[in-house]
């Protein structure tokens, strides 16, 4: 669980987000949406402690963020960054890095780490990619490996920053299915998405930021009905009922 109380995030000379009070609970898939530059990535980085907060409080599973060491934080919350390096290693080695917070000196991997990696690769259906070099994988395959690394980190809370960026449509759906599975396993999943239709379709809960503030927070259907998205994004959002639920489109 992630709790935020009157959070103020940004840079010392410029605040990006003001007075954000939110709680993200287990088993919930929350999508953060908002125009470019509204502070979604800054928000995630602040929750992780990668960027100092300007005010307010952050609690991870009931523990104040500042009382946790970097290693303790890494055992509670994992993060898929927006820009990721592609190191010259194979996929299994990449996923093994997810076990780093659990290793003591001299950082030798234990049988349980190897087991966690195997399980993570199975969960993302990438066991056959394990010995392939990261550089040779397609964008979608690589994303599955990054997800496996997050799974191997085995944290209750998961933050994903634009996990569908640069992926084709089928890979985007695959990535969202993985995020859904994480939430269904009882994790707290918070992700930033730019694709509004995908966000509306996949999220249990939508949090909208704009103009440096929290604009709306609730189920996608409610926010859609309230006209929040029209107001924030300046587009018309419509939905149609299909056999597998509501589908959204905008114009």
């Amino acid at each position: 669980m992630i709790q935020l109380e009157s959070l103020r995030a940004g840079y010392p000379a410029r605040s990006v987000l003001e007075d954000v009070t939110l709680t993200f609970g287990p088993g919930e898939l929350t999508v953060l949406a908002g125009p470019n530059g509204c502070g979604k990535s800054t928000f995630l980085r602040t929750i992780l402690g990668l960027q100092p907060r300007l005010g307010g409080g952050i609690w991870l599973d009931g523990q104040a963020l500042e009382r946790l060491t970097p290693r303790q934080r890494a055992r509670r919350i994992s993060y898929l960054a927006q820009s990721r390096n592609v190191p010259d290693i194979n996929a299994r080695r990449m996923v093994l890095h997810g076990r780093f917070p659990y290793l003591d000196y001299p950082r030798r991997y234990r049988p349980e780490d190897q087991l966690a990696v195997r399980r993570a690769l199975e969960q993302v259906d990438a066991l056959e990619l394990a010995e392939r070099p990261m550089a040779e994988l397609s964008g979608g395959q690589r994303q599955r490996i990054y997800f496996a690394m997050v799974l191997a980190q085995d944290t209750q809370n998961v933050l994903l920053d634009e996990p569908t960026a640069y992926l084709d449509v089928s890979c985007q759906l695959e990535v969202m299915a993985l995020a859904r599975r994480m939430a269904d396993e009882g994790r707290t999943v918070v992700l930033v998405l730019h694709d509004l239709c995908l966000a509306l379709r996949a999220a249990d809960r939508l949090v909208v930021f704009a103009e440096g503030r929290l604009q709306a927070d609730g189920p996608p259907e409610k926010l859609c009905a309230d006209g929040v998205l029209e107001r924030v994004f300046g587009v018309t959002v419509r939905r149609v009922q299909t056999a597998s639920g509501w589908r959204y489109y905008y114009a």
Binding site: T69, Y79, N85, P87, I89, G98, P106, R107, A135
Partner: protein
């Protein structure tokens, strides 16, 4: 093009590289101004052979020089490898974080202030460390990001470079001692100069290898590394300090052979792949092999005269590096 290789391939390649280092070290103990037979080298190193000329040449000339080449080459290449990994910049080298400028300024000052007994090795080591510590302390105050380290290094090197020019302008006699240091070489090196440097280099190499896993995680990018619990800023400063100690100790007795720290890691990354421990080991072996081989050539090409090894390094290493780049551009790997 990426060149990920399996562990068994890398181990085989590292074994070949180790064999090359041993072979070059063996040749370096046998050849120079005077050729000595392997049997005589063995006797001299075992303490036999008394005080005949060959035994004395091996003990007091060839052996210190070979040890110096192995240590300086390994240390400079490993220093470059660490700096390239930490700054995520394949063109980074010890000179980029103030090693050369700091060492150069202190050697120039030492030659100017104490012309009779300039204390070059100590001055070079302290200067290199001072240069890097100044770069790191300024960079730390501005966040210790990769870019601030590089920019601060450029600014400090520029200031120190001006300092060297000023010293040589006001005390022209310092130019001779400084020039020898700048070109680099192991002529006349003794165990008395190599052993203190070895006390710095060997533990520092061990510390760098021990931090291999941390370096691997650092290579994933700052945000990912931090989210995995790594203290990125502290690690970056620790690793750059280790790199400075390695390069400072090497230049203290070998002069400015900065090229080793650029070219060797660049080549070895293709051999060793992205795992830092392999990369550091391959760089250390590659640096030792390159410097020992070039020093051997410097001694035998125009024997009994010898060239400064820095000149041989640049004449051989430069074109070889260009050839590698051209092959890479043609889409071929090596």
């Amino acid at each position: 093009m990426k060149s990920w290789r399996s562990s068994s391939t890398r181990i085989r390649e590292l074994t070949v590289l180790s064999g090359l280092v041993l072979a070059l070290a063996g040749l370096s103990l046998c050849f120079g101004g005077v050729a000595v037979s392997p049997a005589a080298v063995w006797r001299a190193l075992c303490g036999a052979g008394g005080s005949d000329a060959a035994a004395r040449i091996v003990r007091y000339v060839y052996f210190p020089r070979t040890c110096g080449c192995l240590l300086a080459g390994g240390a400079l290449a490993c220093s470059g490898a660490i700096i390239q990994n930490v700054l995520a910049n394949p063109l980074a080298a010890p000179n980029l974080i103030g090693v050369n400028a700091g060492a150069g300024l202190m050697v120039a000052l030492s030659c100017a202030l104490f012309p009779e007994k300039p204390c070059g090795p100590l001055a070079a080591f302290l200067g290199a460390l001072a240069g890097v510590l100044l770069v790191l302390s300024v960079a730390r105050r501005t966040g210790a990001s990769r870019f601030t380290v590089v920019l601060t290094g450029a600014a400090v090197s520029s200031i120190f470079g001006a300092g060297i020019d000023a010293v040589i302008t006001f005390v022209p006699e310092a130019l001779s001692g400084y020039s020898d240091f700048r070109v680099g070489g192991l002529f006349g090196v003794t165990m008395a100069r190599v052993i203190p440097a070895a006390w710095v280099i060997l533990p520092t190499l061990a510390a760098a290898f021990a931090l291999g896993s941390e370096m691997d995680v650092l290579m994933l990018g700052t945000d990912t590394a931090q989210s995995l619990g790594l203290r990125v800023r502290s690690l970056r400063l620790v690793l750059l300090t280790l790199a400075a100690a390695l390069a400072g100790a090497a230049v203290s007795f070998a002069g400015l052979l900065g090229f080793v720290g650029l070219i060797v890691p660049h080549i070895m990354r293709r051999l060793a792949g992205g795992e830092s421990r392999y990369f550091l080991l391959a760089s250390a072996l590659g640096g030792a092999a390159l410097l020992t081989g070039c020093d051997l050539l410097a001694r035998v090409l125009f024997a009994p005269y010898e060239l400064p090894v820095g000149i041989v390094l640049s004449f051989l290493g430069g074109p070889f590096f260009l050839w590698l780049l051209l092959r890479q551009r043609g889409g071929r790997t090596f």
